[in-house]
């Protein structure tokens, strides 16, 4: 059903109304200047949405512009629905990340589901078939019922959506810290593959070409979602923000129909109607092409009666796309959509006058020049100031925690860490995700990086999502560099060469100087990391206002790293596979307990400086790992991260597909025992290899200037986990630590069902 939209009464534009739309008086002045007159009410809505933080990047753009975005493999950098890299032989990999923090805080199931839906659309509108999803989840402590409720709903939401569409969820991270209480971070990354010949973009070219709205009908849901994502969650207010409901079944139909339309060369351009719906898709497509667009809201299929132009323009109903058909292809386009039981309506035409013009039947209700609307959103560079409390915590004297510990204390600490939900097995989460549909998943969740088959090329794609918010909080620049290095290391552990990133910058209110400082420093660190590792940014997302009444969440710039693997049959697993193999530690272990999970989980301390990171060394480590895999020197490779060497070794022994393997290891070092076992010194990797190849590995590491030590062996038949360092010996029954590691999440989650409070 479509008909004339309900004629809205003329609404007077008052200063209050302008303020309610999140526009400052200066910004309003700029609007008056652009238009040369007062805006109409729908025009005010359009500006408000496009100049929101979410669409306009007001507070972030100047910093984002410092990130490197070019490289030999980058086919499409930031500015499109998703980034694309060249994967060889005419194959491309499209990928992008998206946050859905605020909707998920209110309605975890639907919030997470619609986040997955949006990022899938961003990828398949590039002409790519989505082959994998990864999710980065940061929640409050699982001791809180609210956090358990949120985790339960989010996991179901991410799972049900991907499962239904048939895209496997193959990796991610789950981190728990009270800082995220009530404002969880839900970032979802999607990876798709395409023939580069089929690469599609969100363009609106060719005067007179039909602009079509396809997919679900437009309802009143999520109006001003983009603005909503740009304000703090207000505890007291009961004006519940509108939450959208996802429909993965329709999404699946849209996915197949879109790929068929692109494959048959019927389209000029296509874009998801995501945040700010018809407004952002229409104007962004026109802006990219330097064209104009003329639409009639009366032609848009709607779900509810009496929708006004304002509502139709700003609705964020899910599973909708805007596309521009090639001349003469309109009816073929309609045929394809109807084959997939989808609705399509011609709602307008491409013009060449550079205006976004919206009619309601005959009457023009919006007429805005596209370029300033899309590209001249005012941006702000502010003064960032480090919060003194942060500095105090960073400079906290943590020397006392390096005091000698007993064997018993060392063992207890390991059990505590393996029981910490951030370090424990995530199996409870990923067993709710279909990880193998599509038969591209060579390495699924539970490894350092997921590895996917790149069609029949014999090559692979590796991907990892990483961010330790505690590091970034305590020292943002270093924390961001660590996130970069860790993501690259994870990918390289699988044998793949890291080639590009997407990123999702989750921060608090940027108007607060402390948050702004975090943001600016973290982006600077990100840029350094990208340059040092030769992994340019191809896109990303910024989510501000992640605040709760207790303050901002930890600054959390999540890195989505993509790597390419030359020979899929040389992929390296994370965990020990072979009894009798030798265990090797690459990298230097320092006296670095600062910002560690050990301090947080075992001593309740958040403080100290995060570990040192030398990006040049990080790069040499990556080169070493890639070459070792290429030469088939290693049987497994696992990155040392949160929880230090002891936890890394335990993960290697517990995570294999055929059950746990015993291990016996000793690290000779002058570093105090607690730091040797649990410190989080960077650029370290635990390898296992055939005893015969040890020499070659040692030589290769030395060639790259990397410290290396043979520390033990896999699979003594006594079924124990033994690790000695600095005179302290951990000796635990394998089954015991396995139990703790495996049951940490289910033990907390399965005792209660969903709560809605």
């Amino acid at each position: 059903m479509s008909g004339s939209a309900t004629r809205a009464p003329v609404i007077e534009i008052t200063p209050e109304l302008v303020a309610d739309h999140g526009l400052s008086p200066d910004e309003y002045e700029q609007i008056l200047e652009i238009l040369g007159r007062e805006p109409t009410f729908p025009e005010l809505g359009v500006f408000s949405a496009m100049w929101s933080e979410h669409c306009g990047y007001k507070n972030s753009r100047p910093h984002l512009e410092t990130l490197p975005t070019e490289g030999p493999l980058v086919v499409q950098g930031p500015g499109e629905n998703a980034g694309v890299i060249d994967a060889g032989d005419g194959w491309g990999v499209a990928f992008k990340i998206e946050s859905h923090n605020h909707p998920s805080a209110v309605e975890p199931y639907q919030g997470a589901a619609t986040g997955s839906g949006g990022i899938l659309r961003d990828v398949f509108t590039m002409g790519a078939r989505p082959i994998a999803i990864l999710d980065s989840l940061h929640f409050g402590s699982l001791d809180s019922p609210r956090s358990r409720y949120l985790l339960d709903g989010v996991v179901r939401g991410v799972g049900d959506y991907g499962n239904c569409v048939g895209v496997p969820t193959v990796g991610g991270e789950a981190i728990f810290d009270p800082s995220y209480e009530r404002n969880p971070i839900i970032n979802v990354m999607c990876i798709g593959i395409l023939r580069l010949d089929d690469l599609m973009r969100g363009k609106a070219e060719g005067v007179g070409n039909a602009v079509m709205a396809v997919g679900a009908r437009t309802g009143r849901d999520g109006i001003h979602g983009a603005t909503f994502a740009s304000v703090e969650l207000d505890e007291g207010s009961d004006s519940r923000p509108q939450v959208q409901v996802g429909d993965p079944f329709t999404e699946k139909l849209l996915l197949e129909a879109s790929l068929e339309l692109i494959g048959r060369d019927l389209l000029v351009g296509i874009q998801d109607m995501g945040a700010a719906g018809l407004t952002s898709s229409g104007t962004e497509m026109a802006a990219r092409s330097g064209s104009g667009i003329d639409i009639d809201v009366a032609l848009v299929p709607v779900r509810e009666q009496g929708m006004t132009p304002y509502e139709i323009l700003l609705s964020e109903s899910q599973e909708r796309m805007l596309l521009v058909a090639k001349p003469g292809c309109e009816s073929s386009v309609a045929d394809v959509l109807s084959k997939w039981d989808l609705e399509a309506a011609v709602v307008g035409r491409v013009t060449d006058d550079g205006f976004f013009r919206v009619r309601d039947g005959g009457e023009v209700v919006v007429e805005i020049p596209v370029q300033p609307l899309v590209n001249e959103c005012p941006t702000y560079t502010r003064e960032g100031v480090e919060d003194p409390e942060v500095r105090r915590l960073r400079e906290l004297d943590i020397a006392e925690y390096s005091a000698p510990i007993s064997d018993q204390e060392a063992a207890d600490a390991l059990l505590t860490l393996l029981d910490s939900p951030s370090l424990a097995s995530c199996r409870w989460i990923y067993e709710q995700y279909d990880t193998t549909v599509g038969t591209n998943t060579v390495v699924g969740p539970g490894s350092d990086a997921a590895v996917l088959r790149l069609a029949d090329s014999g090559r692979g794609i590796a991907a990892s999502l990483d961010c330790n918010g505690r590091y970034v909080y305590l020292e943002p620049r270093r924390g961001a560099k660590i996130a970069m290095a860790e993501a690259a290391r994870n990918v390289a552990c699988s044998g793949a060469r890291p080639v590009a990133i997407t990123n999702c910058l989750n921060f608090g209110n940027p108007l607060k100087p402390g948050t702004y400082y975090h943001f600016a420093e973290a982006v600077a660190g990100l840029g350094e990391g990208c340059r040092a590792l030769s992994t340019p940014v191809t896109g990303g997302n910024v989510s501000f206002y992640n605040e709760t009444p207790d303050g901002a969440v930890y600054p959390t710039p999540v890195i989505g790293m993509i790597g390419l693997l030359e020979h899929l049959d040389r992929v390296v697993p994370s965990c020990f596979r072979t009894p009798g193999s030798t265990v090797v530690l690459v990298g230097e272990t320092g006296d670095e307990l600062g910002a560690s999970e050990y301090l947080a989980a075992c001593h309740g301390v958040v403080g100290g400086a995060p570990p040192q990171i030398d990006l040049e060394e990080a790069r040499r480590l990556v080169d070493f790992l890639v070459e070792a895999a290429e030469r088939r020197l290693v049987l497994s490779a696992h990155d040392c991260a949160e929880g230090g060497l002891a936890v890394a070794l335990a993960e290697c022994s517990l995570g294999g597909p055929d059950g746990p393997l015993a291990v016996e290891a000793e690290l000779r070092t002058d570093v105090p025992a607690a730091a040797a076992l649990y410190g989080e010194s960077q650029s370290r990797v635990v390898l296992s290899c055939d005893p015969e190849t040890v020499e070659e590995i040692v030589a290769l590491a030395a060639e790259r200037g990397l410290p290396v030590a043979v520390i033990g062996s896999v699979g003594p038949p006594d079924g124990r986990f033994r690790l000695a360092a600095a005179g302290v010996q951990i000796d635990l029954e394998l089954d015991r630590i396995h139990d703790v590691y495996r049951s940490a999440l289910p033990r907390r989650m399965e005792k209660q069902a969903g709560l809605t409070t």
Partner: protein
């Protein structure tokens, strides 16, 4: 259990709030049409919960059920619920 408890039969219906999409209802509507059923419209899907409740009075029962709905059974952001309580007299047919 205190002697002065009464027994109630409760039925709770949870349906999508006005304006929230109902993909399930849409699919069922289409299936009915494909099967040749004519004259069907406004198909809406929902969940149903039945339970028995001991409470001192009908008013207490209603209070309790309302709290349950708000806390656990429905998510008011996207769902609405209706409660039907049959008092002890009418409970036994």
């Amino acid at each position: 259990m205190p002697a002065n408890q009464l027994s109630f039969r409760v039925e709770i219906r949870v349906t999508p709030r006005e304006g929230i999409v109902d993909p399930e209802g849409q699919t069922i509507a289409r299936a009915l049409e494909d099967l040749g059923y004519r004259g069907v419209s406004r198909v809406g899907s929902g969940r149903l919960l039945k339970l028995e409740l001991q409470a001192p009075s009908g008013e207490d029962a209603r209070d309790l059920v309302t709290r349950m709905c708000e806390e656990l059974i429905a998510n008011p952001v996207i769902e609405r619920y209706e409660v039907q309580i049959r008092s002890p007299e009418t409970a036994s047919p």
